[in-house]
């Protein structure tokens, strides 16, 4: 028996009728007050991390207005609370699904892939309907968002047709029958709701995924997201499945800690996943073979390495230890840090320059911070100490130059995070 949903912001009898008409039009739409569906939707919204992009710090959840930085400019995330006028309360369930899984708005306009619809496409109709039911249950917020903020020519949404033809593959996740249920669950989460590739897969100049470098790390928003395949040197190769799951659950493990945008992903999304799901994601990622770059370490007696060794001993060893192993759960190990050895050293450089605060979760509340060294170390010295860390204790990575550091320094100068 369908129960009419009573909601604040009702305009009158006509509205009730039309809403009733809309909501009763599809027999397979679920009852929005059904607890199980809303709970399922809430969990799916967590794994999809909707709240992160669709919320401005300090404002109401899901009310939109946050500027998402893309290589093409800023896109403003819309209000997805059930508010009738400024949110998506008036959308049909069909329309919602079209937006989430096909990137199409009710008026036919295209969404930009900052909304990761190409990942969410992996979810099923039922999944999305559950998310809809959950979003319908959150508090409506009045917040009119101006969505079109990209510069010309990217503000012409019609160009998205071309983009979609290149990069968008419609279709739900199809499990691989040769793999375990746990693996398949992990694959679904990674490629679907958790949309890890949005940050961790490098992009073409048009912003589409480079599938030949799937999950091998990418640059975005002033950070380099590391390789999360099982690569020994720059990926998760030295982590156990448990290490990966613990990291997702608590933001920390014996080797490293989440900071920057990943701190946000942990705090809002992965730390709230079930243990089974974080295990599944870990299992899946660890199954992806690395590319084994075959880099040779820089010789220890070059100028940049000896300077780096001195700087390391004099400064970094205070927390990261004389042997580079840090303190498990407190100070990341730089000796076997895949992030530090990434081909793109942006994150390592900016952490040294600006400092960093690691995430605090209920499992790991300490949230230790790293101080900023940008005032103390010149660009060449930052390069030297990173070269030393990247190429010592069995590690190897391409040399960083002072110019690389300077680029990050100027790029991040006006960033607030």
């Amino acid at each position: 028996m369908r129960r009419k949903r009573y909601r604040a912001g009702f305009l009158g009898g006509v509205a009730i009728l039309s809403l009733a008409a809309m909501s009763s039009a599809r027999a397979d739409d679920s009852d929005p007050q059904e607890f199980t569906q809303i709970e399922r939707g809430r969990y799916l919204a967590i794994t999809s991390d909707c709240v992160s992009c669709h919320t401005v710090a300090g404002a109401k959840p899901f009310a939109g207005g946050r500027a998402i930085e893309t290589p093409f400019g800023y896109i403003t995330a819309p209000n997805i609370t059930p508010d009738l006028e400024t949110g998506i309360g008036a959308w049909s369930d069909e329309a919602f699904d079209a937006a989430v899984r096909r990137g199409i708005r009710p008026n036919g306009a295209r969404l930009y892939p900052a909304m990761p619809y190409n990942a969410y496409a992996k979810m099923s109709r039922d999944d999305v309907q559950a998310i809809r039911a959950y979003l319908n249950s959150v508090e409506p917020a009045r917040n009119a968002v101006v969505a079109n903020t990209l510069p010309f020519p990217f503000n012409i949404r019609a160009t998205m047709r071309i983009w979609n033809s290149l990069y968008f593959k419609e279709g739900e996740f199809k499990p691989d029958p040769t793999k375990s249920a746990v693996w398949n669950r992990g694959a679904f989460l990674v490629d679907g709701p958790a949309h890890c590739g949005a940050c961790h897969t490098p992009k073409t100049f048009l912003g589409g995924d480079r599938l030949d470098q799937y999950l091998q790390g990418s640059y975005l928003q002033g950070w380099s997201a590391p390789d999360i395949t099982n690569d020994r040197r720059v990926g998760l190769g030295e982590w156990t499945v448990e290490d990966v799951a613990t990291y997702l659950k608590s933001g920390h493990n014996t080797i490293t800690a989440a900071t920057g945008p990943m701190a946000e992903a942990v705090s809002l999304s992965t730390s709230h996943m079930t243990d089974e799901d974080t295990q599944a994601i870990a299992t899946y990622l660890k199954s992806l073979p690395g590319k084994d770059s075959g880099d040779k370490p820089l010789p220890a007696d070059t100028g940049t390495m000896t300077a780096g060794a001195a700087i390391y001993r004099d400064q970094c060893s205070a927390c990261h230890g004389i042997e580079g192993r840090g303190v498990p759960g407190l100070f990341p190990s730089v000796a076997n840090s895949s992030m530090v050895r990434s081909k793109d050293p942006t994150t390592a450089i900016r952490i040294v320059l600006r400092g960093a605060r690691s995430v605090g979760t209920s499992k790991e509340p300490t949230a230790p911070g790293m101080p900023s060294y940008g005032w103390q170390l010149e660009n060449g010295q930052v390069a030297a100490v990173l070269n030393y860390i990247r190429n010592s204790w069995g590690g190897a990575a391409p040399a960083i130059e002072a110019g690389d550091v300077n680029r990050v320094r100027s790029d991040t100068a006006s960033r607030p995070d």
């Binding site: 710090a57 300090g58 000896t306 300077a307 004099d314 004389i322 911070g369 103390q376 607030p416 995070d417």
Partner: protein
């Protein structure tokens, strides 16, 4: 050394699903803040010490500067292994300190009435270090001109030492200035500049630290705690690094 400049620049994620409250905080503001939900954080946070600028005196007049350099070289004379006070930059140190918050007595309680108390009730004069140096150096030069016909800086070194010893014992008095406490102050400040981090102008190139075997601004000695009675081999490092940091 620069920090973000707007109160709302720290983007924070709300712990919605745990129900914790938001934090909007900037470590750079002087304003009182309410802290809740998360530990405060901004990039480039912190307050590193400003480096002094070499060049003209910022507090001393030319004559005072000469006198101070001469004093520094008597308090810490040159020897074959280690520079003296002047070359180490001790006079520069004192000059920059007097030009700064120390000289201006910032943060001290300076309300009246000013009364003389017992010695162990502490400094009760309105005069701060800046004024005391000004008056003291002038009185010293006056006394030397009277006794030797020249200001302190031009008096022969042996006589300089006699003057200082006389001030120390109280045998030599300065006009309008307590010579004994003035000398004690100069000795303390010059030696302080000698041993402070080079960022403050003295201890140039860490010469004092090299002299005594102090390894400087290091933090981790875990591999040395158990090595008893062995010479620590690493050279000193200051807050701005060392020669070893050059590529």
């Amino acid at each position: 050394m620069k920090t973000s400049n707007s109160a709302s620049t720290a983007l924070r994620r709300r712990e919605l699903l745990a129900g914790a409250a938001m934090l909007v905080f900037s470590a750079t503001t002087v304003r009182a803040a309410t802290i809740t939900g998360q530990l405060p954080w901004t990039p480039n946070a912190g307050n590193p010490p400003p480096r002094i600028k070499l060049g003209p005196w910022e507090f001393f007049t030319g004559e005072e500067g000469r006198a101070m350099e001469a004093l520094a070289d008597r308090i810490i004379p040159v020897d074959p292994e280690t520079p003296g006070g002047k070359e180490s930059g001790c006079a520069i140190f004192v000059d920059r300190q007097l030009a700064g918050s120390y000289g201006r007595q910032e943060g001290l309680y300076l309300r009246p009435p000013f009364q003389t108390g017992t010695r162990n009730q502490g400094h009760q004069s309105e005069k701060g270090p800046a004024q005391e140096y000004r008056e003291g150096l002038a009185a010293l030069d006056r006394a030397c001109k009277g006794a030797f016909g020249e200001p302190f800086a031009d008096v022969p070194d042996n006589d300089k030492d006699l003057v200082l010893k006389g001030l120390e014992s109280g045998e030599i008095k300065l006009e309008g200035v307590d010579g004994k406490s003035f000398l004690a102050k100069i000795v303390r400040d010059v030696q302080m500049g000698f041993f402070a981090d080079p960022i403050y102008g003295g201890n140039r190139d860490m010469v004092a630290w090299k002299m005594i075997g102090y390894p400087g601004a290091r933090y981790n000695y875990l591999d040395w705690v158990g090595r008893h009675n062995e010479r620590f081999p690493l050279p000193p490092v200051s807050m701005t690094g060392s020669a070893q940091w050059t590529r």
